[in-house]
């Protein structure tokens, strides 16, 4: 039984990394959003599995949040945004897909190396989980820095945060997990609302020198 739990958790966590890679691969926003929904779905599944495995019922709440909020609400909201902003078939990579993937692989390798230095008596489940979680986090960050469009950056951030939740739930018996995931959902809600409010189309990136000259007068 122990072996099975471990394998399933491992599988789910690994597939989360895989989905992150799929996200990196996508350059169409609408497709990206779909993939993110899947990302959240997998997360929900793995959290639920952890809940079962650690028989920690409160984790189901987290799983529920992941499912409802991240897999359904947010993607819908984002879809509406991109439709309204008319950027749903935007292609916007800073660096080419291939390179991004390459870097992503490097990151995963790095996180493995760093994690496997952890002595084995910290139980393997946590250890493997953490390795995956770390790579998800790094991939999310990578996404944020390689995408020019606000929406895809948010998605990057959210997958980063998925990695966090994965880690948190993987950490057996960690208190406050629910609170933390809630807090993060609030954070994300803020971001999405922010985009809504300020019509931030490419706000992340329109902070260019001309704008600064006009607004800041900091330039010589």
């Amino acid at each position: 039984m122990k072996g099975l739990t471990f394998d399933v958790a491992h599988l789910l966590a690994g597939s989360l990394v895989l989905v992150s890679f799929m996200q990196l691969y996508q350059d169409r926003l609408s497709a990206l959003i779909n993939i993110f929904a899947i990302h959240a779905l997998v997360l929900g599944a793995s959290v639920a599995w952890q809940a079962a495995a650690q028989d920690a019922p409160h984790l189901y709440v987290t799983a529920l949040i992941a499912l409802v909020f991240k897999a359904i609400v947010i993607p819908m909201a984002l879809r509406r945004i991109i439709l309204r902003l008319g950027i749903h078939r935007e292609i916007e990579n800073v660096v080419g897909i291939g390179l991004t993937m390459l870097v992503g692989i490097g990151l995963v390798a790095l996180s493995m190396v760093v994690m496997l230095r952890v002595t084995a008596e910290a139980d393997p489940l946590a250890r493997e989980d953490l390795a995956f979680a770390l790579s998800v986090v790094l991939l999310g960050l990578l996404m944020m820095v390689t995408r020019r469009n606000a929406v895809s950056q948010i998605i990057g951030f959210m997958s980063l945060e998925n990695g966090l939740v994965l880690a948190a739930t993987g950490a057996k018996g960690m208190p406050l997990v629910v609170e933390i995931s809630v807090a993060f959902s609030v954070l994300i809600a803020f971001i999405v609302i922010g985009i809504f409010l300020f019509r931030i189309r490419e706000r992340f990136d329109t902070v260019d020198v001309r704008a600064l000259d006009r607004f800041r007068g900091e330039r010589r």
Partner: protein, 479 residues
């Protein structure tokens, strides 16, 4: 549970925030704000006399006592300054009474969050508190709703969130490291417990955790290259918030960093956290020093000087040892007081001149002697000139380092010198030279500013033995 001072410093701001959110008149709310801050301050002072028991969630020890008292005090003086500042903003219509109500509520929430972060005995709780603080400050930075303000708020928000996320990951890792030793559940996140067992934690996990915490909380401290949010947030938000950010929020993040440093220091096998902090501190100090030169916006300039000083402080704590730690604590205190005082002055200056562009300021000592000389005094203090407090701490940092690591000390001295040049270069055109801009009189509250200067001056001349004892004690704790 029994209600004591510890809960009080959390509950007072919280209740006040709720109250302020509903009260309409901004004059009343301003006064209420001041009173609340005063009350919180008095309560925090009482911590020295009544010794509350630290539970699983809250703790009070010598380390955070210092921070709490400093925070509540500066919060109080800032609220006094904020009262006069806000009234002027209302008059010129930059703020509506609604937004002011929101502002005051947020102010108290911020106080609550910072106090919570300081007294939290639980690394998760501390993280939550710091996140709340971040969100509130984001909202307050954006309060003017101008393009620049929103812009700055947004930048702050995004970078802050990422930092927060990294910090959370670090926190989780710490828990993971602690769990095998302490066992599952709340225990494994409680400071007091962690500290006892830190020696047995898995070093690799601790190292990893510290990297994430350094970057996560380092973002809030404003260390280069994670500093990007800081200058704009300072420049575009209302000045009281700039004062609070520089004077308090950075310290709170620093406090978190220190806690984890202590944790790592207790583990013999883990990497020494010192070198990392020293390097980042040095980079921040020198980098910010150079950034001072081409600033056009007075508030942004002082924001960069905050980065520089945070760099010095982190450097000092990174060096470690009783002397350097003492210097770091002293420098942190002095910097909070001085920098917030400078922002008080700058706030009034910006109000009376109607601009915060350095190019449009000039001859302040002629047109507004009190403000002008106040600013000069502040810059002299912040540049580390005697007989003011920062000179003492910089003296201790540099000399104590030079005996151990001459090149590091030389680099630090270089940074300090460059910053000195940058500050005085600008000061010359702001405070002296031919007057520029409107010369109308200003109805300002000079009390907070000069109160701070008085304390800084006294500290530079003579540190009260009690304070010294306290600091030395804390310095020992920090190892």
């Amino acid at each position: 549970m029994t209600f004591d001072a510890l809960d009080a410093i959390l509950l007072i701001p919280l209740c006040a925030a709720a109250l302020l959110a509903v009260l309409p008149d901004y004059r009343v709310t301003a006064i209420l704000n001041v009173l609340t801050a005063l009350l919180t301050f008095l309560t925090s002072v009482s911590l020295f006399f009544v010794h509350p028991t630290s539970g699983d969630y809250l703790l009070v020890d010598d380390l955070n006592k210092v921070f709490i008292v400093l925070t509540t005090f500066v919060a109080f003086t800032t609220s006094v300054f904020s009262a006069s500042y806000i009234s002027h903003e209302i008059e010129i219509g930059r703020l509506t009474s609604n937004s002011v109500r929101f502002y005051h509520a947020m102010y108290q929430v911020l106080m609550f969050a910072m106090n919570l972060a300081l007294v939290a005995n639980n690394i998760g709780l501390m993280w939550v508190a710091i996140e709340i603080a971040t969100l509130t400050t984001v909202l307050m930075v954006g309060i003017y709703r101008t393009h620049e303000a929103l812009e700055a708020a947004w930048k702050y928000f995004i970078l802050g969130s990422v930092g927060i996320a990294l910090a959370l990951f670090g926190t989780i890792l710490v828990y993971m490291a602690a769990r095998p030793i302490i066992g599952e559940g709340l225990e494994a996140m409680v400071w007091t417990v962690l500290v006892q067992h830190a020696a047995k934690f898995d070093p690799a996990l601790l190292n990893l955790a510290f990297v994430f915490l350094l970057l996560g909380y380092g973002t809030k401290v404003g260390l280069a290259p994670l500093h990007a949010w800081l200058p704009d947030a300072h420049a575009e938000g209302p000045t009281p918030i700039s004062a609070v950010l520089s004077g308090l929020l950075l310290n709170v993040a620093l406090y978190a960093l220190l806690r984890f440093k202590m944790l790592l220091a207790l583990n013999p096998v883990a990497i020494a956290p010192g070198p990392l902090m020293v390097i980042m501190g040095l980079i921040s100090c020198v980098f910010a020093a150079f950034m001072l030169y081409r600033r056009r916006d007075i508030k942004r300039m002082f924001a960069y000087s905050s980065i520089e000083h945070m760099g010095i402080i982190v450097f000092a704590f990174g060096m470690g040892g009783p002397l350097a730690n003492f210097a770091g604590l002293l420098h942190m205190t002095m910097h909070s007081l001085t920098k917030s005082a400078i922002f008080f002055a700058v706030g009034h200056i910006a109000q009376v001149k109607g601009t915060q562009k350095i190019a449009d300021l000039g001859g302040l000592t002629v047109t507004h002697p009190v403000l002008g000389w106040g600013l000069v005094l502040g810059v002299v203090a912040i540049a580390g000139a005697p007989p003011l407090g920062i000179f003492m701490s910089e003296f201790l940092v540099v000399t104590s380092t030079f005996a151990r690591q001459p090149w590091l000390a030389t680099a630090l001295a270089f940074g300090i010198l460059v910053a000195f040049g940058g500050l005085f270069l600008r000061l010359g055109s702001i405070a002296f030279g031919e007057p520029r801009g409107p010369t109308g009189s200003v109805h300002a509250s000079y009390v907070p500013m000069f109160a701070h200067f008085a304390i800084v001056f006294m500290a530079g001349i003579h540190l009260p033995p009690a304070l010294v004892a306290g600091f030395e004690n804390v310095a020992k704790l920090l190892g």
